[in-house]
């Protein structure tokens, strides 16, 4: 009896917390579907005499229409998708290659490189904002996608994670056996090693994808042409455009959040196990 009571309390608390966590999402979704007048007058959905006492007929898609017809939201969506997918794929590939080199090969300079990777882990991002900008200016890469993508392709964090994963998951004997069979180095990497660390690949793809998608400061500093803006800077521009049109701003926010949510649902299990594997053991 007592057991069931505690369980009921646990469920009640969980539902309460879940409600609180979901409230901002619900508020956002409802706000995007309302007119300006209804946004001021009602908290979630407008009252009416439709099903559940909601005025369904008063909902409107005008905010979304404005975003995609009048405002450059479609372009921003494309830019973000491009930057995040290309950036994350190459960052993951380069990290996996680096981690492989540092875990499965013996060569001079290996120890120094491992120490470099560990050292680079503690560089906080703000330190690189100003000198990074100057560097991109010297290379003539300001206001280009190259300048935005390239600096993110060599994350020390990724090399570190893949090295750990490969030390655990990839048996050296297997690699040796493949070499004896005459397999080339890159074939070994792509057909043998890569599949063995698949969970980490999924997790790190998601991490870097999120990182690029949600980044605001770097595009704000590097890009100046609005045609190149990803969602984050476009949305900031939108807010400045019309300070009080929250329905529109929230519609833009929803459009920005939804794609990563979908991607996350696809990669969920690998993502969470990949995230926690390092921290809990180490």
């Amino acid at each position: 009896m007592r057991r069931r009571l505690t369980l009921a309390v646990v469920y009640a608390l969980l539902v309460l917390f879940a409600g609180l966590m979901l409230t901002p999402f619900a508020f956002m979704l409802a706000s995007t579907l309302k007119t300006k007048a209804d946004f001021v007058n009602t908290l979630f959905l407008p009252d009416g005499d439709g099903w559940l006492g909601v005025g369904w007929d008063r909902l409107t898609l005008a905010n979304y229409r404005r975003l995609f017809v009048e405002l450059p939201m479609a372009r921003a969506l494309l830019n973000s998708a491009f930057l995040a997918s290309v950036g994350s794929i190459f960052a993951t590939l380069f990290s996996a290659m680096g981690g492989y080199a540092l875990s499965k090969f013996e060569f001079r300079g290996r120890e120094a490189l491992i120490r470099l990777v560990l050292g680079a882990l503690i560089i906080p991002a703000p330190l690189l904002i100003a000198p990074g900008f100057q560097n991109l200016w010297k290379l003539g890469l300001l206001d280009t996608y190259t300048g935005l993508i390239m600096p993110g392709l060599a994350p020390a964090f990724g090399v570190f994670l893949f090295r750990q994963a490969m030390l655990n998951a990839v048996p050296s004997e297997l690699i040796d056996a493949a070499r004896i069979d005459g397999a080339g180095e890159f074939r070994i990497f792509f057909t043998l090693v890569f599949p063995l660390v698949r969970p980490m690949v999924g997790a790190f793809l998601m991490i870097t994808f999120l990182g690029v998608w949600n980044d605001f400061l770097t595009p704000q500093v590097v890009l100046q042409s609005p045609d190149r803006y990803p969602l984050s800077t476009t949305l900031a521009m939108l807010r400045n455009l019309d300070w009080n049109d929250y329905g529109l701003v929230l519609a833009g926010t929803l459009v920005s959040i939804a794609p990563v949510m979908c991607l996350f649902l696809l990669l969920q299990r690998e993502f969470i196990s990949g995230l926690t594997s390092g921290a809990v053991k180490g």
Partner: protein, 462 residues
């Protein structure tokens, strides 16, 4: 397919989606070219100004079919970021940029020969424009003796007052010369109408929550910001006197200033209720009054500002806008021609006054009939002429990269002195003087430290 198998396959689908996304978007990027903006690009922040320029564009485009003018309205912060990035690091920037005076700080903070705008001093001299444009209007766009923009305005300041209330009380404003006269004359109107122990009518509108009111009065009264060679001069005795006296206007038992903030609904309600008699009104503000308070038409008149001292200046100055040419423009002469087209045009001057109430700094346009038209809002007064008559008296606006910082310091001091006057019930400016001097000295030290850090200001032009 069973649910179990679906879940196992999801990660593979995730990777597939990611790869497909990368391939598809890359392909789209390969084929999609970002169009190069055509024509002479103009960036501006005020849609109202741009509405006026739109009238002038067809004429220019007819004469310059290869270089049509493209007007772009950017929000203030977007304009600032993109302009600075363009000036400092060479990212794309417009050919002509219209900026508000608060943006000049960062633009003028570097070495004088590396400022992002084209130095117009020689052109202005050569073409005699220095004499054709109201001299005081150049001051905010001048740094270290060089002029970097064409001025958009004069922005003389007058006092808009509730003529209905004042005349009903039998007060003759023509006999008012100084602020003391003004407050003495309006004293009978300062009353607690509903008996709640609070005054319901103040002679003047203003606030110490931000520096704007204090700055207008300081400029009128001859307060000092910077010396001729550009160093800070906040700690002068005249500043201490002005701020101490201003504080007793803002607060304490001798308070004569009420705060009806126009930007808010409650402020406009206060205004309708007659909470303030006089409003410090630059030309653009008088213009916006006619459009934002149409129901108050016929209840306001304009008079020159009461002077700080007998025989003193009867006006002041507030705000300011300029347009300049970016140094990156491929053809400076062409941009210069376009700039003159937009800023010197008689048609533009007429509409700028009609739509926005702003009087032009171009003297040749001053004799247009529009400035003599009686204004229905201001009881038939020829508003344009009234403002223009004050143009020669308008004080210089301090020009320094550290101007915004200086006004912030002065505003903070006005704020602190007013709080003190309220807390200790001080009505005499003399009792606030020592505190004013101490605060100004501290502000001077901080501002000097900030300016000393900037080694570029002292560097001579090459």
């Amino acid at each position: 397919m069973s649910l179990r198998r679906l879940r196992r396959r999801l990660p593979r689908t995730g990777l597939g989606v990611m790869l497909a996304l990368a391939v598809l978007t890359s392909a789209a990027m390969l084929f999609e070219r970002i169009p190069r903006p055509a024509g002479l690009q103009v960036w501006a922040f005020d849609p109202g100004h741009v509405d006026v320029y739109r009238l002038l564009v067809p004429g220019w485009n007819r004469r310059h079919p290869d270089h049509p003018l493209a007007l772009n309205v950017l929000t203030g912060s977007a304009l600032q970021t993109r302009m600075m990035s363009g000036f400092l690091a060479g990212t794309p920037v417009a050919d002509l940029l219209e900026i508000e005076r608060t943006l000049t700080g960062p633009v003028f903070a570097g070495p004088v020969d590396e400022i992002g705008f084209v130095d117009l001093t020689d052109r202005l001299q050569r073409e005699g424009l220095l004499d054709q444009i109201n001299a005081a209007s150049f001051s905010p766009w001048t740094t270290r003796g060089h002029i970097f923009g064409l001025p958009h305005d004069v922005h003389p300041v007058m006092l808009a007052y509730r003529s209905d209330l004042v005349e009903a009380a039998g007060i003759d404003v023509t006999r008012i010369e100084t602020w003391d006269d003004y407050f003495r004359a309006m004293r009978p109107l300062m009353r607690d109408l509903d008996g709640d122990g609070r005054i319901d009518c103040y002679p003047l509108n203003g606030t110490y929550a931000n520096p704007s009111t204090a700055e207008v009065i300081l400029l009128q009264a001859g307060g000092t910001f910077f010396t001729a060679d550009g160093s800070a001069e906040l700690d002068s005795e005249i500043n201490a006197e002005i701020l101490a006296r201003l504080a007793t206007w803002f607060a304490g038992p001798a308070r004569v200033i009420g705060d009806a903030n126009f930007g808010t609904v409650s402020g406009q309600q206060l205004l309708h209720s007659g909470f303030v008699i006089g409003i410090i009104a630059p030309d653009f503000f008088a213009g916006s009054m006619t459009t934002t308070l149409p129901d108050m038409a016929g209840r306001f008149k304009l008079m020159p500002l009461p002077a700080w001292k007998p025989g003193g200046r009867r006006t002041s100055v507030q705000g300011g806008t300029m347009m300049g040419i970016a140094r990156s423009t491929p053809d400076v002469d062409l941009a210069w021609a376009a700039l003159k087209e937009l800023y010197l045009s008689p048609v533009g001057a007429e509409h700028l006054f009609r739509d926005r109430g702003i009087v032009t700094p171009v003297k040749a346009n001053w004799n247009q009939p529009v400035f003599d038209e009686p204004s229905p809002f201001f009881c038939g007064q020829p508003v344009g002429r009234l403002y223009l008559r004050l143009a020669p008296e308008v004080p210089l606006r301090p020009s320094s990269p550290y101007y915004t910082q200086a006004t912030t310091y002065l505003g903070n001091i006005a704020n602190q002195l007013a709080t003190l006057a309220d807390r200790e019930g001080i009505a005499e400016p003399a009792r606030l003087l020592p505190r004013a001097r101490a605060l100004l000295a501290a502000a001077q030290r901080d501002l000097q430290a900030q300016m000393r850090r900037n080694t570029f200001l002292a560097r001579p032009a090459r």
